[in-house]
Amino acid sequence: MYREESSRNMALHHLIEKYQQKLYWQIRKIVIDHDDSDDVLQNTFIKVWKGLENFKEEAQLFTWLYRIATNESLTFLRQKQKRNTTSLHPIEYQLSKSLESDEYFKGDETQLKLQQAILTLPEKQRIVFNMRYYDEMPYEEMSGVLETSVGALKASYHHAAKKIEEFLLNR
C-alpha cells in the first residue's frame, strides 16, 4: 500500500492518525518540552514519508517508526546542547530545571522528583527506563527498536531503576 505513489499521501495521513500519540509520548519523554516535541514529531513523520520506499516490510512498521522517533529526539537534544553555548550544564540539567516552570507539566512534587531522577540517567538508560516503566514495552520489542540485546536492555533497566531509587531516597 505504502509503495503506491498515488496512495502515499493517504497512507501518510493514516500513519499520522494511527501513531501520532504513541510517537509523541515517546518523543516527549526524551525532549521534555512540548514545542520541541512537536518539532521532533513533525520531523519524524517527514522522515517517515521520505523513507517509506526504503521501509523493509519484513520489519514491523511500529518498530521502525519508534526507532526513527527515538533517533530524531536524540539528534534534537544534541543540537540543542550545541546551540546553547551560554550554559555550562548538560542539556539534561537544563531540562530538569525547565520542568519546574513548564506550563504543560502537571505533576506533583513526587512526579517532578521522579522526572528529575530520570533526567540524571545517561541517554540510553533514560530511554530504556521510559520504554519499560511507562510504555510497559516487552524487552523483545524494545530490542527491535533500540537494536540492543535483551540481556543488555535488562541490565540497563536495572541500573536505571537502581539510580532512580537512590535519587528518590536521598534527595
Binding site: 501520532q20 519523554k29 513523520f45 505533576g107 512526579q111 522526572q115
Partner: protein
C-alpha cells in the same frame, strides 16, 4: 427352583426388610455362566489372562453431564423453530493473535510488577503521566505535517526545474556564447589603445580568432559583430599616424646633421 425361591422371597417380604431388583435370581445364574465361560476362554491365553482387565479409556471431565446439558438445551430450543434454525454459533470474533498477545501481555505485566517490587521507593510512586498537551493538538497535527511536506515538495520541484534549466543543452550553449562575448568585450575594453603590440580582440588576426577553441562555434559574421568597427578604424588611424611619426623621426635621426639642429 428359582421361581420357587422368588415366590418364597415375596412371601417373606413382610418379615425381611431387605429387597432386591425384580428377577435378580433369574439373571444371576446367566451372568455367572457367562463369567465362567469367559474365564475358561481366557485360560487358553495365559498372557492375556494375566493382564488386569480395566478400561484404559477416559472421557473429558464432566463429559456426560455436559452432554446431558447440551441435550437439554437442544430439547428446550426445539420449541422455538426459528431460534433453533439460527444455531448457537459464536458470531463474535477477536483480532488476529489476540489470545497469544494477551497471554504475552499478561506475562509482561507480571514481569514488570516483579521488577518494580525490587525498588521500594520507585514502586511507591504512583505511575502516571505528568505531561500534558495543548487542547486539540492531535486534531491538527496530520494537517500540519502534510502541509509542511507539500511545501517542501513544491520547493524541491522548483529547485529541480532550475537545475533542469541550468543543465539543459540550450542553456549550456547560451552560457558558452555569453562567455565568448564577455571575454571578447573584456579584451576589447581593457586594452583598446592600439599599439604596436596590440593584443586585444580587435587587433587579433581574424585567422587567429577563428583558430580559438572557445569561439569556433561562431561564424565570421558574428565575430565581426564583436568588433566596434568605427573605434577600430580610429585606432588603426592612430597607429598608422604613430608609425608615420616614428618613421619620420628615424629618418631625421639618420639623415640630419647635428649642426643643422
Amino acid at each position: 427352583m428359582n421361581k420357587d425361591h422368588d415366590n418364597s422371597n415375596s412371601e417373606n417380604n413382610e418379615k425381611n426388610p431387605f429387597s432386591m431388583p425384580e428377577g435378580y435370581f433369574n439373571s444371576f445364574s446367566k451372568k455367572m455362566m457367562l463369567k465362567i465361560e469367559l474365564a475358561d476362554e481366557l485360560k487358553e491365553f495365559k498372557m492375556l489372562s494375566s493382564i488386569d482387565k480395566k478400561s484404559p479409556f477416559v472421557t473429558p471431565e464432566n463429559y456426560f453431564i455436559k452432554s446431558m446439558a447440551s441435550a437439554e438445551i437442544r430439547a428446550e430450543l426445539s420449541g422455538y423453530e426459528t431460534l433453533a434454525s439460527v444455531g448457537n454459533k459464536n458470531a463474535f470474533v477477536v483480532p488476529p493473535l489476540y489470545f497469544e498477545r494477551s497471554h504475552n501481555s499478561i506475562i509482561n505485566k507480571i514481569e514488570l510488577a516483579e521488577e518494580l517490587q525490587q525498588y521500594s521507593a520507585l514502586h511507591s510512586v504512583e505511575k502516571q503521566n505528568p505531561f500534558v498537551i495543548p487542547e486539540g493538538y492531535f486534531d491538527t497535527l496530520s494537517h500540519t505535517v502534510r502541509e509542511k511536506i507539500h511545501t517542501e515538495n513544491k520547493a524541491q520541484a522548483g529547485f529541480g526545474k532550475v537545475i533542469q534549466f541550468v543543465f539543459s543543452k540550450r542553456t549550456i550553449y547560451a552560457l558558452a556564447a555569453m562567455m565568448v562575448l564577455s571575454l571578447g568585450l573584456y579584451f576589447y575594453t581593457s586594452n583598446n589603445e592600439v599599439t604596436g603590440n596590440c593584443n586585444g580582440l580587435a587587433c587579433l588576426d581574424r585567422s587567429e580568432i577563428l583558430k580559438s577553441n572557445q569561439i569556433n562555434n561562431l561564424d565570421e559574421e558574428s565575430l565581426m559583430n564583436l568588433v566596434d568597427v568605427e573605434k577600430l578604424s580610429k585606432n588603426l588611424d592612430n597607429a598608422s599616424a604613430t608609425t608615420d611619426k616614428k618613421e619620420e623621426t628615424d629618418f631625421v635621426k639618420e639623415n640630419a646633421d647635428i649642426n643643422d639642429l
